[in-house]
Symmetry: none
Subunit: 268 residues, 2 copies
């Protein structure tokens, strides 16, 4: 997981984005993954202003900075990475698939560097001039690279995927503040059922089968070892096991094989 300092040293740079709602979508993805610094390079201000005034504009959007040029936008950064769909033009840069690009960017951040991640306009991507500011390029691998010129991603989606890749290595998910999976849900399945509970389920199920004349019709499935394996395979956990036990006891009670008083006592 990236530290606060590392998150602060990442700039997302949008170059000639035209659609305010796309700019807003990028800001939202940044906010979701904990990034804060957006810089927008546009000849004309309207898209950024419109995005800032949108109803659901985020803190990221409010803090976004307008820059006069790509050079300005990346001036304080130590690593400048451009995003591109392959096949659009002759590339003069080293090009890495996103999953290989991420470790390099993380290394730079870990060493105290500042990263600029550039996204081009929705229609044309980054121009050769804009790409020339980059140390190297990354691409999100997509299907049908032969027709790659027709396979460009939506700006907000491309940003979400790239930023996700930067934060996905979460061994530090042990950090309670950032961890996604709450222990209590994990608890549900990590608390395994005991063999004794499984055996109780097995014997109750055998009783039910006998009482319902199941072996008469399905002799090949009614062998006790078969039933035991059947129950083992379903692998109920420690929370569900008592529920199944209660269900089976209730069936037996209804079939007249146990008193209601008995069934009530054994409901757990």
């Amino acid at each position: 997981m990236l530290t606060e300092g590392e998150l602060d040293r990442v700039c997302v740079v949008l170059v000639r984005a035209r659609n305010p709602s796309n700019i807003g979508a990028v800001a939202r993805a940044m906010h979701n993954f904990g990034f804060r610094r957006m810089r927008v390079v546009n000849e004309f201000a309207p898209p950024l202003e419109a995005a800032k005034s949108a109803v659901d504009a985020s803190d990221v959007m409010a803090a976004a900075v307008s820059c006069a040029s790509v050079a300005d936008a990346v001036a304080d950064c130590t690593l400048v990475v451009g995003t591109t769909a392959v096949g659009e033009r002759h590339l003069h840069h080293e090009l890495l698939p996103l999953a290989e690009a991420a470790p390099r960017m993380l290394t730079e951040l870990g060493g105290g560097g500042r990263l600029a991640l550039l996204f081009g306009s929705e229609k044309t991507g980054l121009s050769n001039e804009e790409l020339s500011h980059c140390n190297w390029l990354l691409t999100i691998p997509m299907r049908n690279s032969a027709e790659a010129r027709h396979v460009s991603m939506n700006l907000g989606q491309a940003a979400a995927v790239c930023l996700y890749e930067l934060v996905r290595e979460s061994p530090a998910a042990s950090d309670p503040q950032t961890s996604a999976a709450p222990p209590e849900t994990a608890g549900h399945l990590t608390d395994p059922v005991t063999a004794a509970q499984l055996e109780l389920i097995t014997s109750l199920l055998n009783e039910v089968l006998g009482a319902t004349e199941y072996p008469r019709r399905h002799a090949h499935n009614a062998d006790p070892a078969h039933i035991r394996r059947l129950v083992r395979r379903v692998g109920a956990d420690a929370i569900d096991a008592p529920v199944w036990i209660g269900i089976l006891k209730q069936i037996l009670w209804k079939l007249g094989l146990a008193g209601e008083h008995d069934a009530s006592n054994l409901k757990s």
Copy 2:
């Protein structure tokens, strides 16, 4: 890289999506990553129709299917995974961060299974009833989990990130020998149960519970969504499922709720 066959066995299921442009964005992400099957569960048709008629609608969008219910949409699938933002509600399912969820989904696909990946509505996500159709849940880890209820992702972005994670492991997956399905589990589990079979088991079990007055004594466990989750968690496979179906039908027959002739016909 997923094979063509594996890509074909992934269904993206949108439940109560309201915004046609979001539906279109999901279709575009699917197209970019090579996925083809979209199913849309909506009470009202307009959002899907509007998305289909959009100017830049893709082949995926044109082929999208409208389903009457979540049960219908996942009926032929062997693994049903719901997506959720943490903290929205009390979770009754196992919950995995996306990076850990992907290998499990790939294993299912590698073993010949069919995957349904569910996304809920933009405003409310998946309801508890809708989640009850899922085997387990995944979440995209985001920052600020304390305020997680406010940190939901845009639908198109969430879909793009999830689908990216499924295809990002390109090198290893290309080697058929290293791909997903572990040989030892293959033996028994390669033939996974379909959601339709699990739903049949669920409805038979509900019948049995009703017939045995189970809800009268265990009201807190008798809610239909609770029972559906219970059945999903046991995870019967395709070999055992017919056995369980036969057992439940036999119980119903004994309780006088189906003729013996009927039970005989339905023994498989």
